[in-house]
């Protein structure tokens, strides 16, 4: 299917820092009706990409296509985008309803037609009761919803979400993920989500592009990216802790929950590598204990255990199932 947003070899220099690329030949496609997440640490260029798509930033090179049409030179008001800003950017002098109505008025909607669309949009985010409030009379979560309603009200070609949940406290942010997903499903909008939170990206997105230093490092479904990170850097960023250089397999990573602890007399499982070491640290992690084992050959390895039975200083052996080891060699750095 024709992607709604397509970037072709987009490059951009940091203003005032010639030669240093904020975006380095970025190719990207956002397929219709899906959420594409741009995931990366701060300064990786993800917000720059969003601003290029929205038209707030004219890239130094490359093309931006919206629904197949070259939009590189179009000003933002002619791109048909709905953007949710990290700061929400709600107009402080307008009520929630007037904020939502703003884009519709710009599209020459008037009267009953306008009122109905505003009501529908506020209903969609569950804020119909608060239509007459001004932004400063709303809570953080409510402002977030108004910003979302304002962006979807115009039924944009693409919904752009710039770290939409980063200003909410942790619990509310998790709750809003579900809301965001529901609104996107109900409206069927194509969305591009910028986030630095890997959990948020995994849960919300249909596709993830991982960015670093202005380049797309890996692009795939959440499962693909999570199960097979393309490099040590990506694995690191996704929260993998154990990096082992195994004979014959090169550099691999294994999740803590997949590593077993061998008791004296246990039989060696097939297709596993055994590492000997000493427990150096034990930390309670809610659902269990994270045990750090200083191994003789491979440095520190973290293992997840249900109980606190392994005291620091205990000498143990670990079994690493090769089937669970994700190879990181021979791919992009």
């Amino acid at each position: 299917m024709e992607p709604v947003v397509r970037l072709e070899r987009v490059r951009h220099e940091f203003p005032g820092v010639p030669g240093v690329l904020a975006l380095d030949d970025v190719d990207l496609a956002a397929p219709p009706g899906r959420i594409t997440a741009l995931l990366g640490p701060s300064g990786c260029g993800k917000t720059t990409i969003l601003r290029v798509i929205a038209g707030y930033l004219r890239p130094g090179g490359g093309r931006v296509l919206l629904n197949g049409r070259d939009a590189t030179a179009l000003p933002p008001e002619r791109r048909d985008i709905g953007m949710v800003f990290q700061s929400y950017a709600l107009f402080p002098h307008l009520t929630a309803a007037a904020n939502v109505a703003f884009g519709l008025r710009m599209r020459r909607l008037r009267g009953e037609h306008l009122r109905r669309r505003v009501r529908e949009s506020l209903d969609l985010v569950g804020l119909a009761d608060l239509a007459a409030r001004r932004p400063h009379e709303l809570s953080g979560g409510q402002r977030q919803r108004v910003a979302l309603a304002r962006a979807v009200a115009i039924r944009p070609a693409v919904l752009l979400l710039d770290e939409p949940l980063s200003n909410l406290d942790a619990r509310l942010a998790v709750q809003m993920r579900g809301e965001l997903r529901r609104v996107q499903r109900e409206t069927g909008l194509t969305a591009v989500l910028v986030t630095h939170d890997q959990e948020e990206a995994l849960e919300l997105a249909d596709e993830i592009a991982i960015l670093d230093k202005g380049r797309v490092m890996q692009h795939g479904t959440p499962e693909e990216v999570f199960r097979a990170p393309a490099s040590r850097w990506i694995a690191d960023f996704l929260g993998y802790q154990n990096f082992l250089d195994l004979p014959g397999k090169g550099l691999v990573t294994v999740r803590p929950e997949h590593i077993g602890v061998l008791r004296p007399g246990d039989r060696l499982p097939p297709d596993a590598v055994v590492l000997a070491g000493t427990v150096s640290d034990l930390r309670f992690r809610g659902t269990g204990y994270a045990v750090t084992v200083e191994t003789d050959e491979s440095g520190p390895v973290v293992v997840l255990r249900a109980d606190a039975g392994l005291a620091p200083g205990t000498a143990i052996r670990l079994s690493v199932p090769l089937a669970r080891a994700v190879g990181l060699d021979g791919r992009a750095p």
């Binding site: 038209g55 707030y56 930033l57 004219r58 000003p75 933002p76």
Partner: protein
């Protein structure tokens, strides 16, 4: 974003030229060898500078102005800093009431204040001209002292003083070692603003003069009223050089736009 409007940018640049440009011809006139203000100047000569720095009325007025600016600023700070301290540490009601009282001198026209001081102090109470000038300038500068130092104090974290007390400092030590250094940028800004405001003032000083006591701008004004020679152009050029020097020193000391770009300082020169 694309939308920088060429017409508006054009107007902005014209405005900047309009603000700065007109002073340049004055330098040309100051350098003339002729006897009148005319364009183009007749030959080049430093003679009017020599005459300006030797012109006794200007020199006497300069002495008055400098003394007045220094004394007025010192008094305003001495009176204003305690007020600012009291206001930052008191309740909202007192702050609103007394705070408003101290902004009044900025609202009442200076010419009216000068007229009022002339009547009550000079005519009724027989205070001499310098005394009346000092009273007027102190009152005029008081709002800057209160508000600019107050703004610096208000920005400071109140827990700084609590921390100092908690670490064993007495009230006085806390004041001299913590509060005063924290307020320093505000005090510097208020002092610079006050000196400039006092030194340049005309409407307040206009009526408050006596034998041998006139401020420099008023003396220059009277000279311009009656003589159309380039003497004042030379004096203006020297003051322009002084303003450039003040700009550079202020920039070094506290940041020029920090001192002169503040909202509470926008009523300071007329």
């Amino acid at each position: 974003m694309s939308g920088r409007h060429p017409l508006l940018t054009g107007i902005a640049l014209v405005a900047l030229a309009f603000l700065l440009g007109p002073i340049l011809p004055v330098i040309g006139i100051a350098l003339t060898a002729g006897d009148t203000i005319e364009f183009p100047p007749r030959g080049l000569s430093p003679r009017w500078f020599a005459e300006a720095v030797a012109h006794e009325p200007f020199l006497a007025a300069l002495r008055t102005s400098v003394l007045l600016a220094a004394a007025g600023t010192a008094l305003a700070l001495l009176l204003g800093l305690p007020v600012a301290l009291a206001l930052t540490r008191s309740g909202a009601r007192l702050r609103a009431g007394v705070g408003t009282l101290f902004t009044l001198p900025v609202i009442v026209p200076e010419l009216v204040l000068g007229y009022a001081l002339f009547q009550t102090l000079m005519v009724d109470l027989r205070v001499d001209a310098f005394g009346a000038l000092l009273a007027g300038h102190t009152v005029l500068l008081l709002p800057y002292a209160v508000r600019v130092t107050g703004a610096a104090l208000a920005r400071a974290d109140p827990s700084l003083e609590e921390a100092a007390r908690g670490l064993g400092a007495t009230g006085w030590t806390t004041f001299t070692r913590v509060t005063l250094p924290v307020a320093r940028p505000g005090i510097v800004a208020a002092a610079v603003l006050s000196v400039v405001t006092s030194f340049n003032n005309v409407p307040l000083s206009l009526l408050l003069n006596g034998p041998g006591t006139t401020t420099l701008p008023v003396e220059m004004l009277h000279h311009v009223e009656f003589a159309f020679d380039p003497l004042v152009a030379a004096a203006c050029t020297l003051l322009l050089a002084l303003a450039v020097a003040v700009t550079l020193v202020t920039e070094r000391l506290a940041g020029f736009t920090h001192v002169f770009g503040r909202q509470e300082a926008t009523r300071w020169n007329r």
